[in-house]
Amino acid sequence: MHVHELNPKRTMITLVIFAVIIVVGLLTLSGPRLKYALSPEQTIELVTYGEGMVYPYELEDVLNGSIDSILLWDIRNTFEFGRGHIPGAENISAVNLLTPDNIKRLEQLKKDGMAVVLYGKDQLHANGPWMLFRQLGYDHVNILMGGYDYYMEWQDMLGDTYYDDVYLLGMPDFDYVEEAASAVMVAEEPSGTKATVTVKRKKKTVVAEGGC
């Protein structure tokens, strides 16, 4: 016989404590900090239709101040940012994009009706972070096509990029079948393709003399 069976109140107290712990546990149960807002299927749709892409020539309006609702975020590291960046861009390295402070800021920007344009070294660099933000439901986050490298090349004539298509990705540059099947005759290499390094030695002017 257990001791507490002699004391019905004790069992009651145990029962109440038990219930309280379970209820408190359920109420304070927290989910992950960030949740996906888009399903994988929706994400596929997003990337197939090329939504959220900012063309390099659209930057011109941002840079000359006629559009002030767009923020530029440079996701490269601080070192690369210091060496050069798009004027007015903020440096938020890729590793810091999901910090609680930054997420809070991003939500505030969304409320204020501001848009964010991410750019990295090239479009590929910003592709992952951009896709992740979109999947988390931050649909005011966009990506700069071409990235910083392309911007550098065209910075003085951004408007002209309207007629350029180098930054358009996801297209074949070659007719693969033709390239691969035309059995390229590889000509025999002439020997000595590598330049030989000739070391010029300074002539000794003084004849070696005996003794030190």
Binding site: P32, L34, L124, G170, F174, V184
Partner: protein, 204 residues
Amino acid sequence: MNKNYIYLTLLLIVLAGGLFLLPEKENHQHLDPEDLMWSIVQPTRYVSTDQVAKRIIEGDPTLELIDVRTIDEFEEFSLQGAINIPIDSIMVPEYQDYLGIEDMSAVFYSDDDIKADQAWVLAKRLGYDHIYVMKGGLNCWIRTIIKPERPASTAAESEFELYSFRRGASMYFTGAEIAIPDDESKQKVQVARKKKTVVAEGGC
């Protein structure tokens, strides 16, 4: 028996029943966004066309090439041994069977690397490991492996080694033969022998 035990039991049963009412979590099998970001910032997912070429030539059994372009594009041209998973079909269970194979490393490729990278982000979110992206895609494949460019004569020795590998790979993949001009091929090899200057003398 104390009645309180019955209450306790009932309470636990009711609470356990409450589990059925919890909303079904859609994300539970997906990678946590923070972990996904952590994987995204690592450049280790990129493999070069040279690495892929080398593994195809060596017949690496763990290599699984995955073409994320459309079916038409895949049927027109694909890399040796590649499987086609169009990016919009990545959620189809039959296709996903190709992704979770143990000990295999799946390398995504497309025309360049954007589409492949997008497929990678999706697959990573779905929780697949050992997945990679071929940097530069097929455009880079043609440029480096099929039509390699000869390095400048002042380039480093390692670049010549790479060039020689790529020429070999080009021949392997295109089935091209080395064209040797006729006159050169028939050149006779002349062995210059050193003349003996001293007539052999007897004794040691």
